[in-house]
């Protein structure tokens, strides 16, 4: 895993230096992760839905590709950026959904297997977005843990490696961040 991590970092640097091929190499390495999170977000959607899991991943892919020339310090930077992109895409998606007046009949699917109580309805996505911003104010690292785990489907181990913290810390951050998110979203003041 550590080797993998340094490979990604190196590739990111190459990409930053203008080697467009490097992105093509990074993407397959994070692709399965992106795909699984995308699938879990949109699992259970009817095929007719406009945005399918693959569409989501590809949207992300294209946006990352659009950032060609962006400076990638390291793996952490890249993943944070990917998570941010995923957030934007989700919000676009939520807005798009509203435009199509799906509202009430919109099927409720969990955003992540770890948070079965959080779905992908427009309101829930906007709530999540707001909650993440608020958490970032209070505790940026926990917000980042939440992003990686929820938006990109990273495991605790991966999260720890990406953020360069111990797994125990990653676990602890996750526990508190989860409770915090639940409180913010499920029982607003």
């Amino acid at each position: 895993m550590h080797d993998d991590s340094s490979v990604v970092t190196e590739l990111l640097q190459q990409w930053g230096a203008g080697d467009s091929g490097a992105l093509e190499q990074i993407i397959p390495m994070v692709y399965s992760q992106l795909r699984s999170i995308a699938a879990s977000q949109l699992r259970g959607e009817r095929p007719s839905h406009t945005l399918q899991p693959t569409a989501l991943v590809h949207d992300l892919y294209l946006r990352l590709a659009d950032q060609h020339g962006g400076e990638w310090k390291d793996r952490q930077h890249f993943f944070s950026f990917a998570a941010m992109m995923m957030r934007r895409i989700l919000i676009d998606y939520a807005k798009h959904t509203k435009r199509q007046k799906r509202g009430g009949e919109f099927e409720r699917v969990p955003l992540s297997d770890d948070l079965p109580w959080l779905g992908t309805s427009r309101q829930e996505i906007l709530d999540l977005d707001g909650a993440l911003d608020a958490l970032k104010q209070a505790d940026p690292r926990k917000a980042r843990v939440l992003e990686l785990r929820v938006l990109l489907g990273c495991t605790a181990q991966q999260t720890a490696e990406i953020l360069d913290i111990s797994k125990a810390t990653a676990d602890r951050d996750w526990t508190l961040a989860k409770a915090w998110l639940y409180r913010e979203i499920m029982s607003p003041p």
């Binding site: 080697d19 109580w117 409770a179 639940y182």
Partner: protein
Amino acid sequence: MSSDAQWSDIENLFFEALGLPASERADWLAEAAHGREEVVHEVLTLLQAHEQSESEARETRVGAYRLERLIGRGGMGEVWLASRADGHFEQRVAIKLVRSGLGADLLLSRFQQERSLLARLNHPNIARLLDGGVSASGRPFLVMEYVEGEPIADFCKRHSLALPARIEMIRQLCGAVEYAHRNLIVHRDIKPGNVLVTADGSPKLLDFGIAKLLETDSAATATAIHLLTPRYASPEQLRGDPVTTASDVYSLGVLAFELITGCLPYELHGNSPAEIVSAIATQEPRHASRTTNQIPRGDLDAVLAKALEKEPAARYGSVDQFSEDLKNYLVGRPVSARVLTTRYRLGKYLRRHWAGAVAVAVVAVALATATAMSVRAARSARLEQARSARVTQFLEDMLGSIDPSWEGTVSRGGADTRVLDLLPAARKQIGTVFAHDPAAAARVHRIIARAYTNLQQYPDAETDSKAALALLPSLEDDPAEKARVLFTAGELDFRMSHRNEEERELRQALATFESSPAMTADAAEHAIYVTKLAEALADVGKREEAAQYADRGARLLGGISTASPVQTGIIHDNLALIYLKIGRLEPARAEARQGIEQLAQSPRPLNELSNLYWWLEVIDRYLGDLTDARTAAELGAQAAARAAGPNETLTVAPRIELAYMQALSGEIPRALPELVRCLAEARNTGGDEDLFHALHSLGYVLTLAGRAREGEPLLREALRTGAKFLADTGPSIGMCSLELGECLERQGRLTEARAFYQVARDNFRNHYGPVYVTRRADAQLASVTARISSGSGVR
């Protein structure tokens, strides 16, 4: 929001309190927080949120449903009574939570494939499948209509239902199963436990199509699952042979036998699965009348025995026929089970020795006709023509059906070579036999030309096609036949790449076809004519006109309801290829998907299906949908494997595609060795096309693997190989150039790379317009150009 210091207090207090029993937390906190109420409140609400979120994460909920009560447990998992948890509307459902270990991904992908089919099942005697997904803990689940009822056997017993009422109930189930079969779904697991009778006395069949979703690929698991309830499984299911509608007929037969007699059709001395399997496989089912004195010997015995035949082909041809015969029994009519024995035996013979039988029939008819004709030569011309019409119709039916692309009935080089041997003899007789009926002679030549074309014996086909064309003047009164002769000639010239003749003949064929309102009423045939012309036009580069005809074909096809799925599927398949050739990716994808939907319904494995998946993969890839492309590659390889049969090794083309897609989605270590093998095979046995694909795929995957130097010679060889059969300006050369460009860029050879990117970009743009793959080539071109000008990439 609280200050940083306060927040870190809150965090620490939260985790310390978490370590305490829940009842002690509040008191402890009040003290530990030194009376800071805000902090206490924060920590308490967080603790509460933690508890709630954790309990919700346990399996009280799956997807949008709240589990309420366990209502059953079986080999596959548990069944729960549940209701929608989102409060949008009250709906009680039954949820099947599949035992973990049954492959969530596989189940989900199958569910997504079958979902539209299953959702279409809307019948009063069928419990509907509503939804499916994967639970928080990773267990797949299926959501079904909740049926409140009593198992059918209990219901019959408790109400002491008389024989006619029991048979009526079975017939209701038959209606439901027949309905599902018409919608192309086989139940596969019909048994008393899957039939509930509601309070108003109507039976409901549960779990339609579920068995197929849950089937595993591993033989051991499959056996284990069959062994759970083998009593109602058909012999072919136990053997692991393909399951068809006939398997449902069998299981309905066992169910009927049990409801009527109260016991199984087999004598069991033990209850072990092994014993049951052996009884089903070997024992002749006993006569229903021997097990009870409630029913007389004879007809009902015969009806049940026919449903329970060991050979699927020997059973009723459909559930409807079974049901019809049960009705015959009820109203005292003779049952077909006893009448049809001889025809069945002949049918069985024909099925077993299909090609041989056709050959025999062709010769028999040809000879018989020759004799009859010469003897009756003096008879009136009218009578003669009527006779030759019948003869040619027969020939048409027989030879028309050896079309290998149609249902894949006859394999090339096998038994049908005997038919081929007989055709020259049949051809020689045409002049004599149809001396007084040139129109019939033209038709026979046309039929034989078509048979040869389908068997890829083009020189022979040409002989007959030319003979038919020479007789065209005799067909002035028969525009339908004239159109067919022209079409057959056009199709043959298409296969032989006689581009000019092909276009001319197909235009004439379509014009003739459309001159007759009677013919254009057949939209399916009309679509075939239009589509074929579109294909010819695409081949000679008349893209605009080709698009017009393709659009027309697609519209005609959209209005067809009568044709078989295979027929319409093949036309979709042609349309997809045409759109692909003329660079219209979106309509190509739509046609490919529709074609797949149709062809996947065929019980026979079709080569066209794997081709369609392949095209879909290419289209998805060019449109940037890599995951879809990969799925298509996987399904294509599976379809190719099915079409090849269990003992054949898979052809190299679908394997290359699959490995290439695996590599693109990150599984390079898995793909590389397979591509190396594929290239070796393609060099040994394949044509240029296979070789091209193997070379560029391996070359590019090596590049992706960081071995650009090794990939380069392969990509260059691919370009040379491709040049033999691909247009320089086409997308395949474009893709190969893009890959070579990347390979060179990785080696720091930027100027060379740029030239290839340019070829790729131009080819894609000319052919497809501004789609994903064009944008990608464009971006890479721009990036390498920038690198060159900044001098950054020179190493």
